[in-house]
Amino acid sequence: MSAQLTETTHVETAASSAPDRRLNPFVRAGLLLLALLVVLALPWYIYPPVAMDIVAWGLFAISIDLLLGFTGLLSFGHAAFWGTSAYVTGLIAIRSGLPFPVAILGGAVVAMLIAVPTGYLAVRRTGIYFAMVTLAFAQMIFFIANQARDLTGGENGLQGIPKSFFGIETVETDPFYFYYAALPLILLGAFIAWRTVSSPFGRVLLAIRDNPARARALGYDVERYKIMVFVISAGIAGLAGGVFSVSHGFASLQELVWQTSGKVVLITVLGGIGTLWGGPLGAAVVVLLEDYLASSGFNGIGIITGSIFVLIVLLFRKGIWGTVADLVARIRSRGRTPGRRDA
């Protein structure tokens, strides 16, 4: 078991944390600015509800990446946090009529609360066992939501979630303006993730991912760190789930079903793990593809998305972002030699 684990983490390490791949601060600031521009411009080019889906799934993928790419934990039950927050957000918004950002924050907090016992039990195991424990919890929540029909609406879902926003009507009715009202929550989630991985806490996570035994020998309480990052990740997934449910105006069992957990892992791997950038990129690809295929009149959507996934995994093992970053690094190292001579 432990031999297998080190082997898998080895691959991930190679992809993400080789020292010479760190970009200089100017480039990073430039990239960040560009990303922000793309995100801000998105609803001008893409149908606004679809744009909202992209950023929500992107943030959801970031929450997975935090665990998978930076801590080496594969959660196969993240739909539990995304879905719970979707329902809780919806219930708060419907019953109290509070502005939607408050409802979403409430949803995220509840997602974090249920992540505490889940994380507490799950982090005692690693690898496939960790994945199975998280999956089991997610299934449990799925069945609870299915049975608690007075609260969740069961099969029919929780319908008619309002987009209350301090009485500003354009935001409440037009998805174009709603996008900009909800975007800060997404950016908040992304910022928390970035802050987490680039702090000393994040360094400890990397140490745990690469060699848990050594991290423990150095005096770090590995389990506690894992629980903490698990809860943070659940909170980010909760933010994303809340935005998603308010944007659609409903929460359904689809949000809790295990395929949703699978889809977000797929998105993360597609985009490239251990990068944070990869998630949103993967989300853009998957959501746009689903959206396009849905009105293309083509009858085998699963075949297309499946083959693309297989192709990416076989040909670009580091995901889209990982591959692009690699190419850039190669160009860079080619350009470096003459550059030094000049200087």
Binding site: V27, W44, P49, G157, F244, Y292, A294, N299, G339
Partner: protein, 417 residues
């Protein structure tokens, strides 16, 4: 710094590439409003259903064909006095996922300028689209979903429910069979919302007709092995065993019911079944099974005539959902013609309370109070293979449930618009 610039350049190119692709695939946001008699000078009918999954055969692409047939026939009927000659049919695949249905419904109304959305199976998706219809003030006629919530607690001004619902199924099968002497029932149902709801509706109808359910046997969902549940349900020799399973589970259930060797003594009634289920398993497996149909293609000459036209186009016989899509699309266009406008409110005003008699809706009426479209329903029995004279000739209609009785009375609907 040269490499730095190169990287920024690469990133720029990648970024603008992304933006360009986005540009190509879709138009941008921002609100858009249209006015005039016929918005955008065209009438757009959108079919939103399952084009690739479990409901593909039941409605799917052939429902789109049915709607196209309706448009052609309507054009042929009105020729020059048609309110618009420019009629489009668009379609989208919701993959039975409510979130996709929701986004697609918005897109269809906003971007593709759809004036009406048709079909939408799967209850969570159906209800999500109803909410969109309400916000956009555009017409929505549901055909594929069974939930009574569409015309009950979650009804709205722009939503109509055309073909069937769970109440109709319970009334038809539970009520009629009990009246005909099947007083003692046992029900086997999958233990989730749909199964529980159906069992409750059946119990209401059976009790009202003077019968009783002895045992209610829940099974896991989904499930493959029903042998123990069948034995349990058959143990006290009821007159009828009712099953509320659907799709793949139903097919397994029926197979094992036949193997149990009790099909000669105890009648099997199915809560929800479509002609496509019989077609996939063969009539022999289902012989003697009773269920409620909203419409059957080989019921009379009128139905058959339409089914022949449908077959000429699609090489298959229609399910009731196909016929209902045609009927809904045709009558929608009639309402637009009468109103002289395709604005949601104008069309709704013309549809409300309208009495319709076409090949699909017999003694039909669009109830104004809850937008439930009522019509005659049928109790059907599956023929044994020996009596099947041609392909798809699987059903014998044993009773007609009059429109006024087949659906939930307005007083019980719980709808307030």
């Amino acid at each position: 710094m040269r490499h730095t610039r190169m990287i920024s350049l690469a990133a720029m190119v990648a970024g603008s590439g992304l933006v360009l692709t986005a540009c190509g695939s879709s138009a941008g946001g921002g609100p858009a409003a249209a006015s005039g008699k016929i918005s955008d000078d065209k009438i757009v009918l959108a079919v939103l259903n399952d084009q690739s999954g479990v409901y593909k055969d039941l409605s799917g692409p052939n429902s789109v064909e049915a709607v196209k047939m309706a448009v052609e026939d309507w054009k042929a009927k009105h020729k020059d006095d048609a309110v618009s000659k420019n009629i489009e049919v668009v379609t989208a695949d919701h993959q039975n996922k409510p979130d996709i249905a929701n986004t697609k419904a918005q897109e269809l109304y906003d971007r593709q300028k759809a004036d009406i959305i048709l079909d939408v199976p799967t209850s969570s998706a159906a209800l999500a689209v109803a909410t969109q219809a309400k916000t956009k003030k555009k017409v929505y006629i549901n055909i594929g979903a069974g939930t009574t919530a569409l015309t009950g607690a979650q009804c709205n001004k722009y939503t109509f429910h055309w073909a069937y619902d769970t109440y109709m199924l319970a009334k038809g099968t539970g009520g009629t069979l009990t009246k005909d002497g099947g007083k003692k029932w046992n029900v086997v149902y999958p233990d989730y919302a749909f199964g529980q709801d159906m069992t409750k509706s059946f119990e209401g109808q059976i009790t009202a007709a003077g019968g009783a359910i002895g045992q209610k046997v829940p099974t896991p969902f989904p499930n493959d092995n029903f042998a123990t549940y069948i034995t349990k349900a058959a143990a006290d020799k009821p007159d009828v065993i009712g099953t509320m399973h659907a799709g793949g589970d139903l097919i397994n259930f029926v197979k094992q019911y036949n193997q149990a060797g009790i099909s000669d003594q105890i009648k099997l009634a199915v809560g929800l079944m479509f002609i496509t289920d019989i077609h996939s398993l063969g009539a022999e497996q289902f012989k003697g099974v009773t269920f409620t149909e909203a419409w059957y293609w080989n019921f009379d000459e009128q139905n058959r005539a339409w089914a022949d036209k449908f077959q000429a186009k699609t090489k298959t016989r229609p399910s009731f959902a196909h016929a209902a899509n045609y009927s809904a699309a045709f009558n929608y266009l009639e309402a637009v013609q009468e109103a002289g406008s395709d604005t949601g409110d104008d069309v709704v005003a013309k549809l409300e309370g309208k009495k319709i008699n076409d090949f699909f809706l017999r003694n039909g009426e669009v109830r104004a109070a809850d937008h439930r479209v009522i019509h005659d329903a049928y109790l059907a029995e599956v023929k044994p293979a020996s009596e099947v004279k041609e392909e798809w000739d699987y059903e014998k209609i044993v009773a007609t449930i009059p429109a006024a009785e087949a659906f939930k009375p307005v007083a019980e609907s719980g709808c307030s618009m």
